[in-house]
């Protein structure tokens, strides 16, 4: 794993000291709330519906066991014994007290973590594939590029006051598990015919009020010029982005209004102006960073050992979990274990401090002390020997973490919604709970197959409902919560924005409406067709008719 250098450590420490002073001045009445609010937001501290909320960055979703233990301790000592993993691979604490926050930040700094750039109009936490460095289909581990961007963007004064927040995601594989096309900048790793690795750059993706899928602005940029190209994109956006209207200030609107060709020319001109010699330094830095992400010393193991086969045959539940939650590793004899934080009727993404500690302990025992957080609000143990899978699963089962539903209908992505969020127009979590109850039966879930449901509690779309195969958006209609359904969204390499089916449903109707959609899929599917394939073959009409009647 990457470790902070002295610069990182020093600046995080300075920020903690600064914030402690700012809190003291606020409490003493020397700063007004209007003066203090931007300062607390710069340190990830929001005021939500019931209390403050602290958002902690987990760069590219990678956590050490030590860091996870610390998060568990913070949850117990300063919060209410749990945390919420978000769709941006971060964690949120829902109940910190103002005077405790500097201490929390100090504790985070002791394990090389912070809450900087988790809010505000700056470059936010860079996200990536949760299977980075271990995925069987990977061209390159995307984390060194993420770290390079993190270092370059952290406290970069040129980009500290952008027109709006800015999100970057990177995938090292052509199978996109990082939803890169839904980001301001999406980076896709490619290998050209000469065997050189380079990056395709997409811009203008984003969800929220006006959703867009990112468009390719550069087909291939070499390693030595990647940062220069991103810098060129940022400069053009910083100058041209609409600062006059908050709702039009994201790069997606600039891309849409200017057109990708014209914008690409502007970026190219800026790119050419950036000194090529800078590339040498960046390449050297990338090489230095890459050394931190060298593959670990794997032991020599065989795929599908007899012991594993025997356990799979002997235990049906384990077999089921193995088939849903375990993914293929690039190293023979190893496996990627996905821990679902989506128990039936649970709160998507929530983990208790006891569960966090268990995952940390299992990471130490079975996964080289490393954990990943996914944008689907689950956790991953990336380095598990296949021979250890059965023992690991038994421990997960004992602590309510053995949910066998990865990628299935009950693996629902949901934002906090009106249960916590000050911006919400409706609740998300109870809807996720109701739907997961309807589809609780394991065999039913398995029969339905791969199906992603995403729920957002307002148009800001933190639950990424636009790219859910079934998307649900919670709105307020004359004081009542109601829910719009979108169909056909997709977050992977075939990214698409879902289309609204028609009038919304009340909170009591929505789970039934989802069931109607699913039944329509089952009635119409052909052999081996998953939901999204059936939907793209038959279109919206049969679903609309099932929901609203003919015409």
């Amino acid at each position: 794993m990457y470790r902070y250098d002295e610069f990182d450590a020093e600046f995080v420490k300075q920020r903690v000291d600064q914030f402690r002073d700012q809190v003291q001045r606020r409490v003493a009445g020397e700063l007004t709330e209007d003066e203090f609010k931007p300062l607390r937001l710069m340190n990830g501290l929001y005021l939500q519906l019931h209390a403050y909320m602290l958002r902690v960055a987990i760069p590219y979703g990678t956590l050490s066991a030590t860091q996870m233990y610390k998060l568990a301790d913070i949850a117990d000592k300063y919060d209410k014994g749990y945390g919420h993993f978000t769709t941006r691979q971060n964690i949120q604490f829902n109940w910190p007290k103002l005077n405790d926050v500097p201490d929390i930040l100090e504790e985070l700094a002791s394990v090389e973590m912070h809450a900087i750039q988790t809010s505000g109009n700056c470059i936010r936490n860079v996200t990536t594939d949760q299977w980075a460095g271990v995925a069987a289909d990977e061209i390159e581990d995307p984390r060194p590029v993420c770290e390079l961007i993190r270092q370059w963007s952290t406290l970069n004064p040129e980009f500290a006051y952008l027109p709006r927040k800015f999100k970057i995601a990177v995938t090292g594989s052509s199978n996109d598990r990082a939803a890169v096309k839904a980001h301001d900048i999406g980076i896709i790793t490619h290998k050209n015919e000469n065997g050189d690795i380079g990056y395709e750059i997409l811009i203008g993706g984003g969800l929220g009020r006006t959703p867009f899928i990112g468009k390719t602005v550069k087909k291939f940029v070499g390693k030595d010029r990647l940062l220069a190209y991103i810098e060129a994109v940022m400069r053009v956006y910083n100058l041209q982005g609409r600062r006059d209207n908050k709702y039009k200030a994201r790069i997606k609107i600039l891309t849409h209004e200017t057109g990708i060709e014209k914008l690409s020319e502007m970026i190219e001109r800026e790119f050419e102006r950036i000194d090529k010699a800078q590339g040498e330094l960046e390449l050297a830095e990338l090489n230095r960073i890459e050394s931190y992400f060298e593959p670990p010393q794997y032991s020599s193991e065989q795929d599908d050992s007899t012991a594993l086969q025997q356990s799979l045959e002997a235990n049906e539940q384990f077999n089921y979990w193995y088939n849903t939650n375990v993914a293929k590793h690039q190293q023979p004899g190893y496996a990627i274990v996905n821990i679902s934080l989506k128990p039936i009727e649970g709160i998507p993404g929530d983990a208790t401090s006891a569960q966090m500690r268990l995952v940390a302990q299992l990471a130490e025992q079975f996964s080289l002390s490393e954990i990943r957080v996914t944008h689907e609000q689950n956790l991953v143990l990336p380095y598990v020997k296949q021979a250890d899978l059965f023992t690991l699963w038994q421990q997960l089962e004992q602590h309510d973490l053995g949910n066998s539903n990865l990628g299935l209908i009950t693996d629902i992505i949901a934002c906090p919604g009106l249960d916590y969020c000050a911006l919400a127009t409706a609740r998300s979590i109870p809807i996720a709970q109701k739907i997961s109850k309807v589809f609780a039966d394991r065999r039913k879930q398995q029969d339905i197959g791969k199906l992603q449901i995403n729920i957002s509690g307002c148009i800001n779309a933190c639950g990424h409902h636009h790219v859910g195969n079934i998307g649900i958006l919670g709105l307020d209609k004359k004081g009542e919560e109601y829910y719009q359904i979108t169909l056909g969204g997709n977050a992977d390499e075939n990214a698409a924005i879902g289309k609204i089916t028609g009038p919304g449903f009340s909170k009591d109707e929505i789970a039934g409406a989802v069931e109607t959609v699913v039944n329509t899929y089952i009635e119409n599917r052909q052999t081996d067709e998953n939901f999204i394939q059936t939907h793209s073959r038959i279109g919206d009409v049969p679903f609309k008719e099932a929901l609203y009647g003919p015409n």
């Binding site: 709330e33 403050y52 007290k97 709160i347």
Partner: protein, 100 residues
């Protein structure tokens, strides 16, 4: 005529609070809140609350009188006065349950 309470967040704890019946201190519980039909009085109280540096986001919020006493009319504010509906073991609703 609408009845209103003054609702805000406490600077230190972040808790949702109401101006209490003595119209000087603050309470976490709606049933102890100061309420008035007088627009002028509500505005005075709101202005005083907004001046206090230990209080954030003070607003005058509409309430109704029902059989339990005061009730918030907007669902969002109702949730704020209680806690997350998906974690009834947390927030003010939990304290109320304990007290009962």
């Amino acid at each position: 005529m609408t009845t209103k309470v003054i609702m805000a967040n406490d600077l230190l704890s972040g808790d949702v609070i109401f101006l209490s019946r003595d119209s000087r201190s603050w309470t976490k519980f709606l049933d102890q809140a100061w309420a008035s039909d007088s627009e002028q009085l509500v505005e005075q109280m709101l202005a005083a609350a907004q001046d206090s540096h230990m209080i954030i986001g003070a607003e005058a919020i509409e309430v109704e009188h029902d059989h339990t006493g005061l009730a918030l009319t907007v669902f969002r504010e109702h949730l704020r006065s209680r806690g997350p509906s998906v974690r009834t073991d947390l927030g003010k609703q939990a304290e109320l349950k304990q007290a009962a």
